[in-house]
Symmetry: C2
Subunit: 338 residues, 2 copies
């Protein structure tokens, strides 16, 4: 191999929004796979909000990335060298290669993808972790009944768009919230019953009008002022799966008062609410197989659609990552690496 | 009948802590039961935190008491006149007579008590709504496993004391939080593994030391600074049944900042927490029979003990109610009416 590897490392722990100084981009040798391993050339790198948590050393649901380590992330990659009989050169696999052009992984930690079945990048989005997050949170925590109202924010993102479309498949009223008229238009195309722009000055009133029977399931992935507007509209026994609060990932301190926590707990009490945080792993063993089968079927039937926000070039990952945290992406954020 | 009825009516909606001006105490005629009804003379009136919610017209889990109506409340009463074959004069029943000396109720809305089985006032406490609140919230939402740590505040109150003792019966480590050394001492007598005074200046550190393996179930009935201290100690997948936030019932506005709500949601996310509000009614049909059988057995075996805070005289109910909201009661608050 005469090629070189490009890696993006975590150089410093960001304070607030990450800056270029928090990363270092380095050129290294392409690594060599050991017995049972494969060498992978990254085709697509997934950017996801959880990565902001890994950059911090504050307590989170996963260990922080060590300073000097490659930024983590799921990848779709091509096998360029195999030292395991289960994988062949040219196979396209789902891996966890991180922000780099080449990576080495145990073959058993990769999953072979079928490029005929669906575009391979969907393994990072609608058929991947974000899609399964939507499916698991909605069906295992939200448990919507036909005719109930499901509301989701960041609704053009890979989780939100999937939540809303599965809610429709399950016979619910789906209300999507996004930022800006173009995204709102897209939600209508996806079949949401109502689509709202959270930047509208009368957003609260729009939300009230869009949920005449209240809200039975609010799929929380954003936080912030959307959550504050949703809370009073939740019905008795409403369920709130929480898979993210991206509006707060760059917070450096608790926001200014008043303290809304007691009011939140008052809603919990008065309406017998269920609020449940989750990471999709929890449900993977029991439900991921069913999800992949069902979701692939829905994709094929055109009931489940997806949109990708693709940026070319690994070196543009830091900027694309910030755009996503600001909600400026439009669809699943993917870096096309090679 | 030449006797008269004494009633305490809701005169005004309190702002903050209720005052004497929010009530009127009136003397009226003793009411006459109709067909299928009984006339009841109140022996014991239960005072419970939920009543503060009924005095407000803010949205809550129950309709507000109308101005001019008798203050609501569960009662243990003697049948003094019966127009239903199922009840006899002299029967002692559980009813919902409210803050008055006499009341009329459909016989079928009363439950006959056996004075031989347990002191009848326990139907308002350990064998009544508070006891069932503890049982249902702990077993149906908290679902503690043997060896897990269960923490409860207001732990000498009728809900908290029952939560802790049932947790012990289920094989858990029980940690009780109360206000003042006398209550803490009582918790140790009840068999709690650790008992903490939330007024102690080093309460947070005491809590940390008392839960070396973290907290698996926090039974929330208080809110305030106790909740803020508990939150960082909750384990992954911890469960938080919420049956009250008495520390906030007299709040007139959201407390001063910073805004703790995003931090709360961050804990929910990072630790896959379950927070679930509930009112015991939800579980009554499926579980109340089992509860009454089990709890009566535990009482008889001495595994479940209770304490009552009895005030004589209906006219003292408003003051006793305020003492309870301030946490100055010591055990189940009961008014001995006749």
């Amino acid at each position: 191999m005469t090629d070189t590897n490009t890696q993006i490392l975590l150089r410093a722990r960001p304070v607030g929004e990450p800056t270029a100084d928090d990363y270092s981009i380095v050129t290294t040798e392409v690594p060599t796979p050991g017995e049972g391993e494969v060498l992978l050339r990254t085709k697509f790198l997934s950017l996801d909000p959880y990565m902001r948590g890994r950059m911090s050393d504050a307590p989170s649901y996963a260990e922080p990335t060590a300073l000097g380590d490659v930024m983590p992330g799921a990848t779709v990659a091509e096998v360029v060298e195999s030292r395991d009989p289960s994988r062949s050169v040219g196979d396209v696999v789902l891996a966890y290669g991180g922000w780099q052009a080449y990576s080495v992984a145990p073959a058993k930690h990769t999953r072979r993808l079928d490029p005929e079945a669906a575009p391979v990048s969907t393994a990072l989005g609608v058929l991947g972790m974000p899609g399964f997050t939507a499916y698991a949170g909605l069906t295992q925590i939200g448990k919507p009944q036909p005719g109930e109202t499901v509301v989701v924010a960041a609704a053009t993102g890979p989780v939100g768009a999937t939540v809303g479309q599965i809610a429709k498949i399950l016979g619910c009223r789906a209300v999507g919230i996004a930022g800006g008229p173009e995204k709102v238009e897209h939600l209508k195309e996806l079949g949401f019953d109502a689509a709202l722009d959270h930047r509208a000055p009368d957003f609260k009133d729009q939300l009230k009008a869009a949920v005449p029977d209240g809200i039975d399931v609010y799929f929380e992935n954003v936080g912030g002022h959307v959550w504050n507007a949703v809370l009073p509209r939740l019905n008795k026994f409403a369920r709130v799966p929480v898979c993210g609060i991206v509006a707060h990932y760059n917070d450096t301190a608790a926001p200014e008062g008043p303290d809304r926590a007691p009011g939140l707990m008052r809603h919990v009490l008065n309406k017998s609410l269920l609020i449940r945080g989750f990471i999709q792993d929890e449900f993977a063993r029991a439900h991921q197989g069913t999800f992949l089968t069902e979701a692939a079927g829905w994709l094929a039937e055109g009931k489940l659609r997806y949109r990708e926000d693709i940026t070319e070039g690994l070196e543009n990952a830091p900027e694309a990552f910030n755009r996503m945290l600001r909600g400026q992406n439009f669809g699943k954020t993917v870096i096309k690496v090679s």
